[in-house]
């Protein structure tokens, strides 16, 4: 089977598995899934109604098939808080989270790759040790605590950045993409772009911390491996300047695996979003999930997590295909 097809089918299977796992957790774990699904607003009669709607009295296989059927029609269920189809809410809020996650990923790459290269070049020297410590610290700070610290110092004390939200209340512009950075640029008003950037600064920084640490560590170790390869040694012996060896030869070879870190980085950003969006009052899918937890809005919790996971699987698939394109050896593995 061609690699592409095989990879695609595996992803399909994984998605099906992810759906199955959420189904099992949602239907089998709680003592009374009907009560949980019906939500706190339900009276006993409504719980009974939900029991019938969800076919909870039917054999589990039958329940499962109808669950798949609903998903295939794009039906993620109804939120108990907003009484809206969850899909609508998710679609409304996804761009806000995606904007954070993508920018955080970008930031961690832009800073993390040079840091990793530098650390590898000075392996076991003092600057390497301190860079490594920094990187390990990045993956050890609880993101929500980091968010709190930034808010305290840079917003509350120094007033450099706004504390929360996506925009000041007196700024608005058309939102054709939902990515405010792009939308504000389209609005052709520098002050809009500035306002958007100021609001993005702290959440993006916080969300980049973990992936930044990760990227630095991984780039460092793969660079060390590559630098030890005979061709790196040969290049040095041939008089190629050290900088060139580092950035042309070695980095190029280390970057292909780094591409796959992107997927990881993205995943960690999304998880961080779950923890920090509420702290920053960011109207994304993370804060949607955290407030659903306090509202006992169980359909939202499962459906939201499912959508995020499916997006993650798709992102990984795309990255792998890209990887295979860059590095044909992958296809053989």
């Amino acid at each position: 089977m061609p690699y592409l097809v095989r990879r695609f089918l595996t992803s399909l299977l994984v998605i099906l598995g992810v759906i199955t796992i959420t189904f099992v957790v949602a239907r089998l774990v709680p003592s009374d899934p009907a009560a949980l699904y019906a939500g706190p607003r339900a009276r006993p009669a409504q719980v009974e109604q939900v029991r019938q709607d969800l076919k909870l009295d039917a054999p589990i296989v039958e329940q499962y098939v109808s669950y798949l059927g609903e998903l295939s029609r794009g039906d993620l269920g109804i939120s108990f808080a907003t009484r809206q189809p969850i899909l609508d809410d998710v679609v409304d809020r996804f761009p806000a989270t995606l904007e954070l996650a993508l920018l955080a990923t970008l930031l961690s790459m832009v800073i993390g790759i040079p840091l990793g290269v530098r650390a590898a070049a000075r392996q076991n020297k003092a600057s390497d040790t301190s860079l490594r410590l920094l990187a390990v610290t990045g993956v050890s700070i609880p993101v929500f605590w980091a968010a709190l610290l930034l808010q305290l110092f840079f917003a509350s004390r120094l007033g450099w950045f706004p504390l929360s939200g996506r925009l000041p209340s007196d700024v608005s512009f058309n939102e054709p993409t939902g990515f405010f950075l792009i939308d504000s640029i389209l609005s052709a008003s520098p002050s809009n772009v500035w306002a958007v950037l100021r609001h993005l600064a702290m959440p993006v920084t916080v969300m980049a911390l973990f992936p930044l640490g990760l990227t630095t560590r991984l780039i460092r170790s793969s660079m060390i491996d590559v630098l030890a390869e005979p061709y790196s040694e040969a290049a040095r012996l041939a008089g190629v300047p050290e900088r060139t060896v580092l950035y042309r030869l070695a980095l190029k070879n280390a970057l292909a695996p780094a591409l796959t870190i992107l997927g990881l980085t993205f995943a960690f950003s999304v998880s961080s979003a779950f923890l920090v969006e509420a702290v920053f009052g960011w109207p994304g899918i993370g804060s949607y999930l955290t407030s659903a937890i306090q509202r006992l809005d169980f359909p939202v919790i499962t459906a939201g997590a499912l959508v995020i996971t499916v997006v993650y699987v798709v992102v990984n698939l795309l990255l792998d295909l890209l990887h295979a394109k860059i590095d044909p050896r992958v296809q053989l593995s």
Partner: protein, 295 residues
């Protein structure tokens, strides 16, 4: 995709020989190890160390609420007057309980599934590993969130929820180990002599496959502590009055802006330092055990 993930975070096959010696020469590693030892000791001795053991367990002391650090309460008191240090000490118990609980249960599950898959191979391997991949497909934290949300918040449920998303890592790792050990001559010999499968696995394969798993598990304790703190921060972990660092950060948040930084501040620092120590161990162990040119 998950193969890639594990390949990168868990690259390299540790070589047990000489590891300890090399580790002892590593200053970062030693520092981390002493921090961890310190945490474990104070957690175990918490009731003895603090004069405020009752407060550590949750009893309030309203007249002394929100005291700044002073000679009696070195890190001040929280919003119902409990000594922050006492809360931190008992919080360490919660954190370590969750971390060791999650990792040990996960290792057990991982060993059973990974060894079965690796030893028997073929469709058993294929099936078990595809299932493992499905669990690994969730972004970190999210699966734990769904499970914790349906079980309801408590320390025990936190352990269950994180375990559900954690075991697949070990299953993969064990499987890889078993796959290579399976072809070793002594295993072949045992099989040829008619030793039953479960004894071959139990006596010849698993003991030899475990070293890298323990190394990894130690390094993972930090990550578990962070996930657990995150769960209690969003209200899915330990319930009050249980002492928990994530919960302390959440509760202390309300007071940070009013200048009472010591509750959230110290709890966050407690998490960070312990997670840092575990992650450093992982880093250093990886460093001293991994071979030069990848696998």
């Amino acid at each position: 995709m998950t193969a890639v993930l594990s390949g990168f975070t868990r690259r390299g096959t540790p070589h047990p020989g000489g590891t300890v010696w090399r580790f002892r020469r590593n200053k970062l590693g030693l520092a981390a190890l002493s921090i961890i030892t310190f945490y474990i000791v104070v957690a175990v001795l918490a009731p003895v160390i603090t004069p405020f053991a009752d407060q550590g367990r949750g009893t309030p002391d309203l007249p002394n609420r929100l005291m700044a650090p002073n000679s009696t309460n070195w890190l001040g008191t929280d919003d119902v007057g409990r000594d922050v240090i006492a809360r931190l000490l008992f919080g360490a118990r919660t954190a370590l309980l969750i971390a060791f609980g999650v990792v040990s249960v996960s290792v057990v599950i991982g060993v059973v599934i990974g060894a079965t898959a690796g030893y028997f191979g073929r469709w058993i391997d294929e099936t078990l590993m595809r299932i493992t991949d499905m669990f690994l497909a969730f972004p970190p934290l999210l699966l734990a969130v769904i499970v914790a949300a349906s079980l309801g918040p408590s320390t025990r449920n936190t352990i269950i929820a994180i375990t559900v998303s954690w075991w697949p890592w070990y299953a993969r790792q064990i499987r890889a180990q078993v796959l290579s050990l399976r072809e070793r001559p002594y295993v072949k010999a045992a099989q040829a002599l008619g030793v039953p499968n479960h004894r071959v696995i139990g006596q010849h394969i698993i003991p030899n496959a475990m070293t890298p798993v323990w190394v990894q598990a130690t390094a993972d304790l930090g990550a578990v502590i962070l996930v657990a703190a995150g769960l209690s921060f969003v209200g899915l972990g330990t319930r009050p009055p249980g002492a928990d660092w994530g919960l302390m950060i959440e509760e202390g948040r309300s007071f940070v802006l009013a200048g009472q930084w010591w509750i959230a501040g110290s709890a966050g620092a407690a998490v960070t330092i312990l997670a840092l120590a575990f992650n450093l161990i992982g880093d250093v162990v990886h460093e001293v055990t991994s071979t030069k040119a990848g696998d």
